[in-house]
């Protein structure tokens, strides 16, 4: 860890009368991969949306690179962090290339067109996400998994030190789940990008993360390494249901199997 890049202090959020977040504090180091897990309605998505600037009615403090959130201009912030929403249910008749190019937005001013550096960033992101064959395809002709990769590629083209993701692998088949996980892990380990991702699947979270934060009813219920999280008692406390672990020679951390339904 090279000092913290995202600091969240006593973050609270109330949306239409419901208290979603109740004093969440979080410190994320530069280059760290942190996953947020927790049951439905725990406030995972809301936490990420607050940090991404999409929800603005929160109380508490968020600092990015030590500077308070409110002191950033909107483009200035977007040069530091990018956000990947769930691609599920979103589409547009834009080509992959056009969509990824939109990631360059904060680097451009209204009257200038894109320069060589912008095109290079777009090409690199498309390549990294394995989307070269889809370059000229329209978004609305892609599968959900491919589209999610396009959304991540756009965030990579934004060229930020931080990427925030909301359930990037949830609706995907196994191959695309693995592709998303590998892409994010590579971005983190090799390019030093800080990743903060909401993960629905615990095994995806433990496979990628340096640290896992569990939310429950708007509060942090647990915080620890992947190995510490892969513990049946810890998980039972978070999710309120039984779990089993099973080890695999290919993984340092055991697989988690929910044993609730029998």
């Amino acid at each position: 860890m090279n000092g913290s890049i995202i600091q969240v202090e006593e973050l609270s959020l109330t949306l239409s009368g419901n208290e979603i977040l109740k004093g969440v504090s979080l410190d994320i180091g530069a280059g760290e991969y942190v996953s947020i897990i927790g049951p439905n309605g725990a406030g995972k998505t809301s936490l990420v949306k607050c940090i991404a600037g999409i929800y603005s009615a929160w109380r508490g403090a968020i600092r990015i690179e030590g500077k308070p959130f409110g002191d950033y201009g909107s483009k200035e912030l977007a040069m530091r962090q990018s956000y990947v929403p769930q691609a599920e249910g979103r589409s547009a008749p834009l080509t992959v290339e056009e969509f990824v190019a939109m990631g360059r937005y904060p680097h451009l001013s209204a009257f200038t067109s894109m320069k060589a550096g912008d095109y290079a960033a777009i090409d690199q992101a498309i390549d990294q996400a394995g989307l070269l064959p889809f370059r000229q395809r329209k978004l609305n002709t892609l599968s959900g998994g491919e589209r999610q990769m396009v959304f991540i590629a756009a965030a990579l083209a934004q060229n930020t030190k931080i990427i925030l993701l909301d359930e990037p692998a949830t609706f995907l088949d196994y191959r695309h789940q693995a592709a998303v996980a590998t892409l994010l892990k590579t971005a983190c380990r090799e390019n030093g990008i800080t990743v903060l991702a909401v993960h629905h699947d615990i095994n995806t979270a433990t496979a990628c993360s340096d640290r896992i934060v569990a939310l429950k009813e708007g509060r942090i219920a647990f915080e620890g390494t992947a190995a510490e999280t892969a513990n049946t008692q810890v998980l039972k406390n978070i999710y309120g249901t039984e779990f089993e672990t099973t080890s695999s020679p290919r993984r340092a951390i055991p697989f988690i199997v929910a044993g609730g339904a029998r």
Partner: protein, 325 residues
């Protein structure tokens, strides 16, 4: 990455051809080498009318494009959202109470229509936002509600007006370019230029809005400001057109869709294409309206609605196809 667009070039060529050919056509064909009275008709009556039609068509089409991006809904248009009715009400109030004034050469009717358009956009946006989303049912219901409300107010104004005013309002409500001249053109142009420049300035933002407001925020778009600017641009254009030509429907809906099929959804290309197509479409429709039952005229609004109705139904049935936003 940068590729010349055949679609835009084609539209530009067609638009130019229409602008050159349409003034010659009408009740009687007048060649360019005409003299005397015929030349007066060509340059004094037909040319300004064709130019007005082109500008009005472009403005309606561009405002439709802006609405569709902002509301992320292919059925959002000045007509369906009740914005045309709002503009019409503004203009009708003005005609009825006839405060004849002009600010900087722009007629009061245009300004009244602009205010009406702006108010109805804010109403529709507020209503749908309150209901929590821009889904088609919510948007159309809100638009229809506002449209009916304003239309009944217009009827009421008509009812309490004398025959002269009433006739003027009825005729103008049908949507016609019959009374356009250079003065009207001069009244359209400031709205055309301001609106187009504003939208051209916002082409990247419209792309981002089209995919989602949250994504726009995360890419660094000042969404509050951009929304206001888009509202402003669209109201300027709808108000500007409605004041001069009355509410002409369906140009704003059809043009952006057809252009999306031609050049794609990236607003950098969609905007010039929509501008050209809207202008071309209304110019051709207006020329037809002058010729179909000559020497009489079909109000062009009737013609565009006749073409637009079936298109609207087709759109409703095909919404899951590649037209989706």
């Amino acid at each position: 990455m940068k590729k010349p667009s055949i679609g835009i070039a084609l539209l530009a060529a067609l638009a130019l051809a229409a602008l050159l050919a349409c003034p010659l056509l009408g009740m009687k064909f007048i060649p360019y080498h005409a003299t005397g009275q015929e030349l007066d008709i060509l340059l004094g009556i037909r040319l300004p009318r064709v130019l007005c039609a082109f500008a009005a068509g472009s403005m309606l089409a561009l405002s439709g494009m802006a609405f569709q991006a902002l509301f992320r809904n292919p059925l959002a248009t000045p007509f369906t959202l009740g914005v045309s009715s709002g503009a019409a009400l503004g203009a009708a109030l003005f005609i009825r109470f006839g405060f004849a004034f002009a600010i900087l050469g722009i007629s009061g009717v245009s300004l009244a229509a602009f205010v009406g358009a702006l108010l109805s956009i804010l109403l529709v946006y507020g209503l749908t936002k309150l209901k929590g989303g821009f889904s088609t049912p919510t948007l159309l219901l809100a638009g229809i509600a506002i449209s009916f409300f304003f239309s009944s107010l217009i009827l009421f104004i008509q009812y309490i007006s004398g025959t002269t005013h009433s006739f003027r309002i009825v005729h103008w409500m049908m949507g016609t370019l019959a009374t356009t001249d250079y003065g009207k053109l001069a009244n359209l142009l400031p709205f055309f230029v301001t609106g187009t420049l504003l939208l051209a300035f916002l082409h990247r933002e419209m792309n981002l809005f089209m995919v989602g407001e949250d994504l726009a925020v995360s890419r660094g778009v000042d969404t509050g400001l951009v929304k206001k600017l888009i509202f402003l641009a669209a109201s300027l254009m709808v108000g500007g057109v409605v004041a001069v030509c009355g509410p002409i429907g369906f140009v704003g809906m059809m043009s952006p869709h057809i252009c999306r099929l031609l050049v794609g959804a990236d607003h950098r290309r969609l905007l010039p294409a929509t501008l050209l197509f809207g202008g071309l479409f209304l110019t051709v429709c207006d020329t037809l309206s002058r010729m179909l039952i000559a020497p009489a005229e079909v109000p062009v609004g009737i013609l565009t609605a006749l073409l637009g109705g079936p298109f609207f139904i087709w759109l409703l049935l095909n919404r899951k196809s590649n037209l989706e936003l």
